[in-house]
């Protein structure tokens, strides 16, 4: 049989076996979702859920009108919240930056020992929610601002440390090498060749974390760690719904303002 003069050349994004694999994977995924849903469904008291609309109406009615006179009592908790978030961020960043240099493959003084220790510290910090940190710290140092600040700091370390160490690893190494060839020490060549490249990341990530921390600090009071959350908890316990609505409004306004500030600052840095 004569060879065709020109063979048609084809190209496929995925081979047939890859297509089959994708089909099976998608099917399994959907089955998994269906199973999870039935699981949740049998453990739900549907009577309560169906009642939700009525409850919402009821709660709404009790929240309005908001108790405006309560606003003045919120100034102190609000200031506390901002303090917790800001101090916690500063503390967290101060701990995160040295850890980031220990954790980055390109700057760590000891790949075998210090790097794994620093990475573990960062992961631990990130894997525990601020609320959990606050619960533990309230037991350790007593309720109040200190516990809140430390909880925010401990949670921020991992977040800031991880993003900064990744920026360090991605920074170009040629400028650092070039400065080393002038006879500069290792510390000097990092200070001049590397730090200018990661400084914008450090600043941007810190501001972004501050914004998140404002949000988180509004809730920490629920477990006794100071700030607006404490007022919220007290009002809910007292069934003072007209105050709850005032607190929720203040939290919303604070968070919106913090996000705006954060976005502005980060735009300036970019």
């Amino acid at each position: 049989m004569p060879e065709p003069l020109t063979r048609r050349r084809t190209w496929d994004w995925r081979s047939p076996s890859e297509r089959l694999l994708h089909f099976v994977a998608t099917l399994l995924g959907l089955l998994g979702l269906a199973w999870a849903w039935t699981h949740i469904s049998v453990r739900t008291t549907w009577a309560f859920v169906l009642d939700a609309g009525v409850q919402l109406q009821d709660m709404g009615a009790r929240m309005f009108p908001p108790d405006g006179s309560y606003l003045s009592a919120l100034v102190r908790p609000l200031v506390d919240t901002v303090h917790i978030a800001t101090l916690g961020t500063v503390l967290g960043v101060a701990l995160a930056i040295p850890l980031a240099f220990l954790a980055a493959r390109t700057t760590t003084p000891s790949e075998r020992l210090l790097r794994p220790v620093a990475l573990l510290a960062l992961v631990t910090s990130r894997s525990v929610n601020s609320i959990i940190w606050a619960l533990v710290l309230v037991v350790l140092v007593g309720p109040g601002l200190l516990a809140g600040t430390m909880a925010i700091a401990l949670r921020s370390v991992g977040f800031v440390g991880k993003l900064v160490y990744e920026a360090i690893e991605e920074a170009p190494d040629l400028p650092v090498t070039a400065i080393r060839t002038t006879g500069a020490s290792r510390a000097q060549s990092l200070a001049y060749g590397l730090v200018p490249h990661v400084l914008p990341t450090m600043a941007g990530v810190s501001v972004y974390r501050w914004e998140i921390n404002i949000r988180e600090a509004t809730i920490l009071g629920i477990v006794g760690a100071g700030g607006l959350g404490m007022a919220l908890q007290a009002s809910i316990d007292a069934l003072a719904w007209s105050r709850v609505s005032v607190i929720l409004g203040v939290i919303l306004a604070t968070v919106v303002l913090a996000e705006w500030v954060s976005a502005r600052v980060r735009r300036e840095l970019g």
Binding site: A178, G183, H197, L199
Partner: protein, 268 residues
């Protein structure tokens, strides 16, 4: 033993873990004032040679000495002192793009600036005067506060040269200074390097891809082929046979490596 040579390389062998040996027994010496052009195909080991003189790559055997001082066995403090005496200029500029021209030039003085002063950016007043003088010499007057990512390729290369010169080096190690420049800018940069070497009595090794530039600016040329020196002589001895040995058959046509003298671009 006193040694007239600025740099002496003896039976140098250098390898990378992934590549095996890249330099396979190099020997040559560089006298004061001598400008040597190092040519060879891509991967021949030109950059590796410069990097091993700076001990950015550790030689596996052989010796490298700077005015008689053996470099391959130096501890870290003495190595820093030795590095100060050798200015390195990189093909990709290797500037800190986010710092200003002045800051980049002053980086060249870090070897003699204390760490604490360096952190606070407190440089010696003499060094600052020197930096201004070099910027003028490089044709960069008035650009000291510009950030380096705002400069053209040629300007960046001049900043790189100033950074190397402010070290007050005895030797320049120059890795393809013109690779990212157009022909006219290449000639200007090479003239500048040749002039400053002559002015300060510097010796230099210059890696070049452009044989024409090597012929024009380097009174002595080393040809590297697969980690060995296959040519060491003046440009006039660099004929087609030698170029074939260095670059292989395909390359030796006048328009490829410029084996004829008058292929050199002129800007006068």
């Amino acid at each position: 033993m006193s040694d007239a040579a600025v740099l002496r390389v003896d039976d140098l062998v250098v390898g990378y873990a992934s590549e095996g040996e890249v330099l396979r027994g190099l020997s040559f010496a560089l006298e004061a004032n001598e400008i040597v052009g190092l040519i060879g195909a891509s991967g021949a080991g030109k950059s590796t040679l410069l990097r091993s003189v700076q001990r950015l790559v550790e030689p596996s055997s052989g010796s490298i000495s700077l005015r008689g001082e053996e470099l391959t066995t130096l501890g870290s403090t003495e190595l820093r002192a030795a590095r100060r005496r050798m200015g390195m200029i990189f093909q990709e500029h290797a500037l800190v793009e986010r710092l200003t021209v002045m800051e980049n030039v002053l980086c060249g003085t870090l070897g003699r600036t204390g760490s604490w002063r360096a952190i606070r950016r407190r440089f010696d007043a003499e060094d600052v005067v020197d930096a201004f003088r070099l910027l003028d010499r490089m044709g960069l007057s008035g650009l000291e506060d510009r950030r380096c990512d705002e400069l053209s390729g040629g300007q960046k290369q001049r900043v790189g040269i100033a950074r190397a010169l402010i070290q007050n080096p005895e030797l320049l190690l120059v890795d393809e200074p013109t690779a990212s420049l157009d022909p006219a800018a290449s000639v200007r940069i090479m003239s500048l390097i040749a002039e400053v070497c002559a002015e300060s009595g510097l010796a230099a090794i210059i890696n070049l891809h452009d044989v024409g530039l090597a012929r024009r600016f380097c009174p002595r040329i080393l040809g590297l082929h697969e980690g060995r020196i296959v040519f060491d002589g003046p440009p006039r001895d660099l004929d087609d046979a030698v170029l074939t040995e260095i670059y292989g058959e395909e390359a030796v046509e006048p328009h490829v490596v410029g084996s004829r003298q008058d292929d050199v671009p002129r800007v006068d």
